[in-house]
């Protein structure tokens, strides 16, 4: 019974969607071209996604899986045109077979081999070769992280020297910031039971964290609502033409 009702709801929505779009196409509000048909496709995907709000349904699942596939396809092609083609194909492979006026850059063989080794992760016999590539990337990442993080995120963040001013309110804020940073760090780093002085300071740290989490919650609500506003703007402006 419920299933019948849902099939009928879906059918009516589809019929309404078709009628509206045919009306727009006939009246010339949407052109019968790549742009007009693009808007209709985009609206179809937008509404299919929102159908999840009623309940999980096949239309949503089809749209979701198509989206995942298209996004993956886009990623592959963009990686080809932006990385593999200019960095490997045109510097190493094309000059090797054709006279392009540039000699092949044989040095590119090393990262290319390491890149191919990385893909051997899925091979049963040769997966150990992928360790060389991962070791290169992970070692490189670890090496650059240490000095850069020490400088940018620790030393720079701990310099309070510029904050002492003649304004008493500013100085109170500076004290509150110092108290917050120290208490949060103590809360995180003392793994012993939080008792006595440590416990008191940790408690202050928790209050600071709660304020920060509250602020983050507020900003997250703001962000999600902004995304929704954007999509509704698209529907009422670009499709329905209700606003300019």
């Amino acid at each position: 019974m419920i299933k019948n009702r849902e099939v009928s709801i879906t059918t009516w929505i589809l019929v309404a969607f078709c009628i509206i779009n045919i009306f727009f196409l006939v009246t010339g509000k949407l052109g019968f071209d790549a742009k007009g048909l693009g808007i209709i496709t985009a609206v179809a995907f937008t509404l299919a996604m929102y159908s999840f709000l009623y309940k999980d349904n096949p239309v949503f699942k089809i749209a979701e899986n198509l989206f995942v596939g298209v996004a993956m396809g886009y990623w592959i092609i963009i990686t080809w045109f932006n990385i593999l083609k200019p960095d490997v194909f045109e510097t190493l492979i094309v000059p090797f077979f054709n006279d392009t006026g540039n000699a092949p850059q044989y040095i590119v063989i090393i990262p290319t081999l390491l890149g191919i080794f990385m893909l051997l992760r899925f091979s049963t016999k040769l997966s150990w070769l992928s360790r060389w590539s991962f070791a290169f990337v992970v070692g490189l990442g670890a090496g650059i992280t240490i000095p850069n993080f020490i400088h940018a995120f620790i030393l720079k963040q701990l310099s309070f020297d510029l904050l002492i001013t003649s304004n008493i309110l500013d100085n109170i804020n500076t004290f509150l910031i110092l108290l917050g940073v120290v208490s949060v760090l103590i809360y995180f780093f003392f793994s012993m039971e939080h008792k006595g002085v440590i416990g008191g300071v940790s408690k202050i740290g928790v209050w600071y964290l709660m304020i920060a989490f509250g602020a983050s919650f507020g900003f997250t609500v703001m962000a999600r609502m902004s995304l929704l506003i954007g999509r509704i703007q698209f529907l009422v402006r670009d499709w329905l033409g209700l606003i300019q």
Partner: protein
């Protein structure tokens, strides 16, 4: 064989880590050339790494189809979506993939009319669920939860134009929350996380952290 499978990767990670960490403090031309070369190589390797993600996704959905797991039919659409996009991308508006990327092709059309609206909408759905959560579960149960709730309400109202109309002190209070207590807590977290990242980096360099080697011998 163990030497190739285990020792060489550990040596590579150690050498790369130590070289790159010290390189930062050596402003010599040779040191800068080394940095330029290895980061360039890193970019190329990372380009190949994309296919690890591609394989994982396709493998997951292929298994779903092969084993006829619940909802396997939907997985076909992943392959269909990816197949058609890759085909349009390779066709490249008739210029094919070995030439430069063309503008305004069907590949771009798929991006702007499928990926962009679907991606943007997918994450906007959360707006509804956040509102629902705010009504159902956001409760002042303890003093900590009350602090969180009050901060959230002030920030939510103080950061939108209507905040000024409700009470003109709301935006300055919201700004103070952001730039004093929030900032202090986030700085504490940042320093803590950075120390953690540095410790992990050291563990990788000295071969204590070996998760990147994966399983097996």
């Amino acid at each position: 064989m163990n030497f190739f499978k285990r020792t060489i990767p550990l040596i590579i990670a150690f050498v790369m880590g130590v070289l790159m960490a010290f390189q930062y403090y050596v402003p010599h031309e040779a040191s800068q050339s080394l940095l330029k070369i290895v980061t360039r190589w890193g970019i190329t390797i990372a380009g190949f790494a994309v296919f690890i993600g591609v394989y994982s996704l396709f493998h997951l959905h292929w298994n779903k189809i092969k084993r006829k797991l619940p909802g396997w039919g939907y997985s076909i659409f992943v392959f269909f979506g990816a197949g058609i996009t890759v085909a349009f991308g390779l066709y490249n508006g008739g210029e094919f993939f070995w030439n430069d990327k063309q503008q305004g092709t069907m590949f771009d059309w798929m991006y702007f009319n499928v990926q962009v609206p679907a991606g943007a909408t997918m994450f906007s759905i959360l707006a509804f669920f956040m509102a629902s959560a705010a009504y159902r579960t956001f409760r002042a149960r303890t003093s900590e939860a009350t602090i969180l709730l009050v901060a959230a309400v002030i920030v939510m109202l103080g950061r939108v134009p209507v905040g000024t109309l409700l009470w003109e002190s709301l935006p300055p209070i919201a700004d103070w929350i952001m730039s004093v207590p929030n900032m202090a807590a986030k700085r504490g977290i940042l320093i803590g996380v950075s120390i953690g990242a540095i410790a992990t980096s050291l563990k990788i360099i000295f071969g204590i952290e070996r998760a990147y080697l994966g399983g097996g011998d």
